[in-house]
């Protein structure tokens, strides 16, 4: 078995969640890496849509920004940004929204706006981007982010993007008809919403990670599913595809992949 990093495990585990043929609205950074890994391995027919306008994007290297030229040149078509949001997202044609975030709470609500009070923030984050409407209009949502107490917090200072609000049927009561978050893939494991309470619950733990590590990296009393399984480690094929993609990207950009 080849050695792998926790980041590689996270990206591979996230990529596996994307089904071949799915139409996926992709955020930049970790979601884009995972979505392209899926396209290069088990899901050659996945359709990647970026909010800047490319539909059916097939970038040869990972984009540094949401509007890289490579996204446009290798896409099935490029449309204007209003069309992306109006016809394709709001039009109900997206199966999966793939999001990252700065912070998440136990009901998978996301914060990318501020840490601290809105009017006098301790940290001003970039803001909403496309996420609030992706979370409402895409058929289901996958979330990928590294797990730590700073990111997995008991209470968000700001809900930028809706998950399950206060849990239970709060999402449906708010008027949302789509499924919402179905999995949060981290560098330690995979959390899925409990079918009733909608609280994020650990269902998979990556190889070499302990329950104690997961608990210590979470800002609320973390729950584990009755059956918790070990995530299948990355295969040679997956690792090779991911490492080749990262190497091509580093060579093309002269630096590591994008962080946002």
């Amino acid at each position: 078995m080849t050695e792998f990093t926790t980041n590689e495990m996270m990206t591979v585990a996230a990529a596996r969640r994307l089904k071949n043929g799915a139409v996926c609205f992709v955020g930049i950074g970790l979601p884009s890496t995972a979505a392209n890994l899926a396209r290069l391995t088990h899901a050659p027919d996945v359709v990647l849509i970026y909010e800047s306008g490319p539909i059916g994007a097939k970038p040869q290297v990972l984009p540094l920004s949401i509007g890289d030229g490579d996204l446009a040149l290798n896409a099935d078509t490029v449309v204007a940004t209003p069309e992306i949001f109006r016809y394709w997202l709001q039009g109900g044609r997206i199966n999966v929204g793939f999001l990252g975030a700065a912070q998440i709470d136990r009901h998978a609500n996301l914060n990318t706006t501020v840490i601290g009070p809105y009017d006098r923030p301790k940290t001003r984050l970039p803001g909403a981007g496309g996420a609030p409407e992706i979370a409402g209009s895409a058929g289901e949502i996958l979330i990928i982010l590294r797990q730590s107490k700073r990111a997995f917090v008991d209470r968000l200072d700001f809900i930028t993007t809706v998950g399950f609000l206060d849990g239970g049927d709060a999402r449906e009561r708010a008027g949302l008809k789509t499924k919402g978050p179905v999995a949060v893939i981290t560098d330690l494991g995979i959390l899925e919403p409990d079918p009733v309470t909608r609280e994020l619950t650990v269902t998979h733990i990556h190889r070499g990670v302990t329950r104690e590590q997961l608990v210590a990296a979470t800002g609320w009393p973390l729950k584990f599913a009755d059956t918790v399984v070990e995530t299948e480690p990355p295969t040679e094929t997956e690792l090779t595809a991911l490492r080749d993609l990262n190497a091509r990207t580093a060579a093309a950009h002269g630096q590591d992949q994008g962080s946002e």
Partner: protein, 287 residues
């Protein structure tokens, strides 16, 4: 009716202190040359509008040209924070900056409504988000046909929209391609529009459905080769990916930022001279 003029004349005649200005671009075709010229001419009290404020807005905010920012995602693409924007919001330096915050879908719809001469846009959005709690302009409206409650947001009608495009013909008809973002909508929503282009050609040779802005819908067209640097102009040059992390270092500190702006932007005559000085300072750093 578009006049083909210098960027200096266009900015001097069409952008005034206190204007609402949208310099749009979605990481492609960023109107950097125009952003610099606005800084150089010392405009003040601007309300800046952009879905994705990046380096040029960081520069204008940092030198105190902006009173207010209307936006939906403000970051250094692929790198992280815009430090001048963050400092203006977090500590009020160089002066407090009013923030009006939206989502991408909202601002895209707001430009469409502006271009369509409507007072507001309607969309399915913001459910469960705290954004309407901090932005009183984000309201709801009940559909008169189905009873569905939808988000309603005011249309955008900038005083001036500024965009960069690949080329124009000699009459000032403008052609752009690749990732075109919200530029067409932003141009048609505005009272006045300035377009900088890579080159002027005899004929655009564009297919019938190409993204063309007719000269009579624009105010000024200016030739600024390389004017989207450090972003890119598809078919002309690539994005300078090294400049974005370099900007992170420049903008992190007030004094470094102000010295950089003075040397590269405020004390240079135009974008071509900016590029020459930038090459000199880069060579000096390596040497």
């Amino acid at each position: 009716m578009a006049e083909i003029v210098s960027l200096r004349e266009a900015v001097a005649g069409l952008i005034h202190d206190g204007d609402q200005v949208a310099m749009e671009g979605f990481t492609h075709l960023i109107p950097s040359a125009a952003g610099h010229e606005v800084a150089r001419q010392g405009r003040r009290d601007l309300t800046l509008v952009r879905m994705t404020p990046d380096l040029i807005y960081d520069q204008l905010i940092g030198i105190g040209a902006a009173r207010k920012l209307i936006f939906s995602w403000g970051g250094n693409p692929g790198v992280g924070s815009l430090h001048r924007l963050r400092e203006a919001v977090e500590t009020g330096w160089p002066h407090p900056l009013e923030i009006e915050e939206h989502s991408h879908a909202d601002l895209a719809n707001a430009y469409v409504a502006g271009a369509a001469n409507l007072p507001f846009a309607v969309m399915r959005g913001y459910i469960g988000s705290d954004l309407p709690k901090v932005n009183p302009l984000l309201k709801t409206i009940t559909c008169p046909f189905t009873g569905e409650v939808l988000a309603a947001v005011p249309s955008l009608r900038p005083d001036v929209t500024v965009i960069h495009a690949q080329k124009a013909d000699r009459r000032g008809n403008v052609l752009m391609w690749g990732i075109v973002g919200v530029q067409k909508e932003a141009a048609l929503a505005a009272k006045r529009t300035i377009v900088t282009v890579e080159e002027i050609v005899d004929t655009l040779e564009a297919p019938p459905n190409a993204c063309i802005l007719p000269h009579w819908a624009l105010s000024a067209v200016c030739v600024e080769p390389g004017g989207a640097f450090p972003s890119y102009a598809q078919g002309y040059y690539d994005r300078d990916n090294r400049f974005y992390p370099a900007w992170d270092k420049i903008a992190r500190n007030r004094d470094t930022f102000l010295a950089w702006m003075k040397r590269h932007v405020l004390d240079t005559a135009n974008f071509a001279e900016f590029r020459r000085v930038l090459a000199e300072t880069a060579a000096a750093k390596e040497g």
